[in-house]
Amino acid sequence: MERVTEPPAPNPLLEVRDLTLRFGGVTALDGVGFAVRHGELFAVIGPNGAGKTSIFNCLNGVYRPQQGTITLDGRSLVGRAPADIAAMGVARTFQNLGLFGHLTLVENLMLGRHHLMRTGFFAGMFWWGRAKREEITHRAAVEEIIELLELEPYRRMPAGLLPYGVAKRAELGRALAMEPRLLLLDEPVAGMNLEETEDTARYLLEVRRELGLAMILVEHDMSLVMDLADRVLALDFGVAIATGEPSEIQHDPQVIEAYLGGAA
């Protein structure tokens, strides 16, 4: 397989170089490099096990890569704790939902704002004063997201009881509540029917238009990727095989081979 390395983009938001992640003898990521520009919707595609979610886990500090650099606006992310990376502005949604099931939708969204808030154990116990003011300010910010994503009917429902499509949207809402600079979306339409997928696409476009947020999208739904993404990175067995605009990727012989097997 031929490796592709992109020419460095001028002043990217996120720059990943030579990223290598191994689990024992298995190489999940092998020298992957890419850059995401400000406000760009960047998609990562590849067959199952290609290493898409591993990239996310490296980006937000869940895994520590053996080699390579990850820089967000010039600051290195490698070796930092997930909570630090979250505070630096990287938000994420999970493939299999990462909502807190016993907490209500509002509480889940408020947790997104955790790193923007200050109230500690003592201030929280003595509610009157700072804690109360902070709750109200951030509750108002959360309400804007509820409105943007049309989650009004579900405010007080425990996240564990939300219908699947709504839960996915709520998780997007929680990530937005973090006021991130970079949003990682891990299969936002997995398991959705056509209508729900189109709804989600609409929300993603709206988020992009309103907030101008850079996003990395991992997704199997090719029509969604090709419609939404500015640029696409194709992975196969942990190796970056192609990077480019959707139309280029669709006709890239290596990508076709990775998906359909052997040269047709």
């Binding site: 869940v62 997930p82 909570a83 909502l99 509610w127 902070e134 709750e135 108002a140 990530a175």
Partner: protein, 365 residues
């Protein structure tokens, strides 16, 4: 009956009020009235002392519920911190004659430090493994309490002379507006006043940023990290807070009982607390108090009425097939099993369902 417009929420401040509806405010007034009047109506020292022990237990149970119910960290070591608090009361309150706020605070502080030492284990272990480590605490404690004679009085125990006095207000010998009250009446007001205070602080905690973080750690600790919650910090914080509250409860317990011995802080006491938070409802402040009333009062009531309960042996070699002690132990076990199987949300869950039923009435959903 108030119309729905009375409950209209006009802003976030309205929504965040603890007693936001007329009905809940009426309930609050009723509770305060019961609190103020009960000791003047109920003179029976047996019942008053049961209620005082229940109140102290409720405080300790709120502590355990913050740790186990809200943060999801199981602990069998709660009795260790209760015991530690009782000895702090004996040495700091009793020997130096400091007033109640100071020895209570000292107990909480030392409890927090001890809890902070255990906390790091919680970062490495979870579930059964954490239960075993905290179980070890009980046995280490038992050894310490028996051998740290200058502090604990060794095997023979120690008297606790910590006075329940705040300035001129001595709850052990209360005189208000020319009227003097008995020790148990004074203690009732003191303890249940503190229950209300601790419950309020705990409720405030769980509805603000730190409390949400605890619950996020309980539900999914890795997702919590990824959205910016430092799970380790909150686990240790939960341990410290829970043991601080337990120690304060222990200090009150020692001061009320006036004498403590090292075999009181055993595994059974820890299990009693676990039974309370399960029966009351994990992850509810209110449930901790309900559970304490239900489970905490049982042993005393069984003890009092053991003569009329069939099959209970009241003296060694007497008739009946089960001793009072064994019956209590068995009951805790049965209660835990029944609630876990039939009503995992505990008494608080039953209460919420009843409330929802009447809210929706006459519709059944």
């Amino acid at each position: 009956m108030a119309g729905p417009h009375r409950n209209l929420v006009r802003g976030y401040a309205d929504e965040l009020r603890l007693f936001g509806t007329p009905l809940s405010r009426a309930g609050l007034v009723a509770l305060v009235a019961v609190f103020l009047l009960l000791p003047t109506v109920l003179h029976d020292d047996f019942w008053l002392s049961v209620l005082i022990y229940v109140g102290i237990t409720a405080i300790g149970a709120i502590g355990l519920n913050l740790l186990t119910g809200y943060c999801g960290q199981i602990s069998l070591g709660h009795a260790f911190f209760i015991g530690a608090g009782a000895y702090v009361a004996a040495r700091v309150g009793g020997d130096t004659g400091l007033p109640l706020p100071l020895w209570l605070l000292a107990a909480a502080l030392i409890g927090a430090v001890l809890g902070g030492l255990i906390g790091p284990f919680a970062l490495r272990l979870r579930g059964h493994y954490l239960a075993i480590v905290t179980l070890g605490l009980i046995f280490i404690g038992e050894h310490l309490w028996r051998n740290l004679t200058p502090v604990t009085g060794g095997n023979s125990g120690t008297s606790v002379r910590a006075e329940p006095a705040i300035g001129p207000l001595d709850f052990g010998d209360l005189t208000l507006f020319g009227e003097s009250y008995s020790r148990n009446q004074g203690w009732f007001w003191l303890v249940w006043g503190l229950v209300a205070l601790v419950a309020l602080l705990a409720k405030n905690l769980v509805r603000t940023r730190p409390g949400r973080a605890l619950q996020a750690v309980r539900d999914r600790d890795q997702a919590a990290e990824v959205i910016g919650v430092r799970a380790g910090r909150y686990k240790i914080g939960a341990f410290m807070l829970s043991s601080a509250i337990a120690s304060a409860a222990g200090a009150l317990f020692g001061s009320y009982q006036q004498f403590v011995s090292p075999d009181e802080w055993n595994l059974l006491l820890s299990i009693q607390y676990i039974a309370i938070v399960i029966v009351g409802g994990l992850g509810t402040v209110f449930g901790s108090v309900l559970g304490a009333i239900f489970v905490g009062a049982l042993p005393a009531i069984i003890d009092r009425y053991s003569e009329v309960i069939p099959g209970v042996r009241t003296s060694v070699g007497g008739e009946g097939f089960i001793s009072v002690f064994a019956l209590n132990q068995a009951l805790f076990g049965v209660l835990i099993v029944l609630f876990l199987v039939l009503e995992p949300r505990g008494l608080a869950g039953i209460w919420l369902r009843t409330k929802a039923y009447f809210k929706a009435w006459p519709f059944s959903y």
